[in-house]
Symmetry: C2
Subunit: 283 residues, 2 copies
């Protein structure tokens, strides 16, 4: 079953998907001055929506952005999802920009629902080859430098996309950002998770300024259902090579095992990967 | 004399300024996935337009973006400027995003013309107080890490704007980015220039991955008209304090003297500042 993209605008509801909705002087496009969240759409609902709205409020605070009340945002999400066929898996994006440059305000708020690309679905079972790329920053810098917007999910993703293009131009599927001091941090659009000592680990977000992954948090909070413990730690690419499994998690991707890192095969815990997919509700 | 904002769209011409022109799934707003240039509008023309189009082509190459031919871009600029009163100073932005997510292509291309804010005009004579802020990266990292998009003028400016907000929240007018290894690099929206040894200096762009400033280049190329030489060098904030004058240059700002750095007064070469403004055509 396929589905057409859905677009809904705050205060206006669903519009035909090709409708222009943003002015040329919207700071979202002139300056990447906005925030967003992406959630997985399943059974006609946005999975973990409350956690996404929580994170969006944190992003708005970091950008000093007048995000509308979460009830309005939840209503907008509801309007968009009502126009989406409940039997089709999708991704919903919720976007809030600073609005027209002549402001201040009002902010521009809209939601889009789109099908999940086939390559994303395939990666859940096939896994992904990953290359490391430096992010250039020391691992623990950003908590002390709020102007670098660590932890904020802004629409200024040009470097995230360029890092993924670079990885793909170099024979991989995705990239793993490594700090200037040699720690693995996160993917440009995903959270790093690994298995060692019967424990699922991820990188501490408050300590590093990476994005606090919602899917990874859910997975680690339910690790006991897999007979595992959960923990947070700093890790290097060399240490990742000696673990029992490495994954990227993300809201729409769900979970994808890293099958190689910089061309070196990684141990793939296929049975555990399947159980993680089941736990997260990705078939 | 005041003027209304002008918006013009490639292939469509001038539209009323509040007209929505971008779809909700335009990657320019979803991902900050686009590039731009801003030029000063004087006497009904865009100053140094050819240099801006050259730089936009370099940005497009770094982002693997299918920028339309420069003749089309120049025509779009001409359409926008024809709707702007020639006697009013303005700024023109030329934007190219990757277009709708369902692409590839076509790209979204438009131009806006807007008045120059009064505070920007005032800073040309009053100067600005500046605070240093680390950019977190080593000064000479980016030439070797193309995925970090050094030298590309993308619309992903959330960190640039956040750095300026942070400086303003802390009593300054603007920020000066400093590398992890202690070199002054650039402002979030401007180029650093300083006077020492009868020479106007700026930071080498290819060596550092900063944006190659068009106004600074013009100024240094015409330094002999001021009886000065021109050069490029690495510089620290401590060294800047011992120079004979420090400026930020930018296309619309023109030139503004730094009157203080982190609260310490800097030497202000008022007479030279006036001659630089005259040389650059900012009254």
């Amino acid at each position: 079953v396929s589905a057409e993209r859905v677009v809904a605008v705050l205060g206006r509801g669903v519009v035909p998907p090709g409708t222009p909705i943003l002015r040329g002087d919207d700071l979202g496009v002139l300056r990447g001055d906005g925030i967003f969240e992406t959630a997985h759409v399943r059974g006609g609902t946005a999975w973990l929506l409350e956690q996404h709205l929580d994170r969006m409020e944190r992003s708005a605070a970091l950008l000093e952005l007048a995000l509308p009340h979460r009830d309005s945002l939840a209503e907008l999400v509801g309007q968009a999802l009502a126009a989406w066929p409940a039997e089709v898996e999708g991704s919903i994006r919720l976007v809030c920009t600073r609005g027209a440059e002549i402001g201040p305000g009002p902010v521009t708020v809209f939601a889009t629902v789109a099908p999940v690309p086939a390559a994303v679905v395939a990666a859940r079972t096939a896994g992904i080859a990953v290359r490391t790329a430096t992010i250039g920053l020391p691992a623990e810098l950003r908590p002390g430098t709020p102007w670098l917007l660590g932890g904020a999910k802004t629409v200024s993703y040009a470097v995230n996309l360029a890092t993924q293009r670079w990885a793909q131009d170099n024979g991989a599927d995705d990239a793993l950002w490594v700090s200037a001091d040699g720690y693995a941090l996160e993917g440009p659009t995903s959270t790093l998770v690994w298995l060692a000592d019967a424990t699922l680990w991820t990188v501490p977000a408050p300590r590093t300024g990476i994005l606090a992954g919602i899917t990874a948090r859910y997975l680690l909070d339910h690790a006991d259902a897999l007979g595992l413990r959960a923990g947070e730690a700093m890790v290097t690419p060399a240490q990742l090579r000696r673990t029992e499994g490495v994954w990227f998690t993300a809201s729409v991707r769900g979970v994808a095992a890293l099958t190689s890192l910089d061309g070196d095969p990684l141990p793939v815990a296929a049975e555990l990967s399947a159980r993680i997919r089941e736990l997260l509700g990705f078939s």
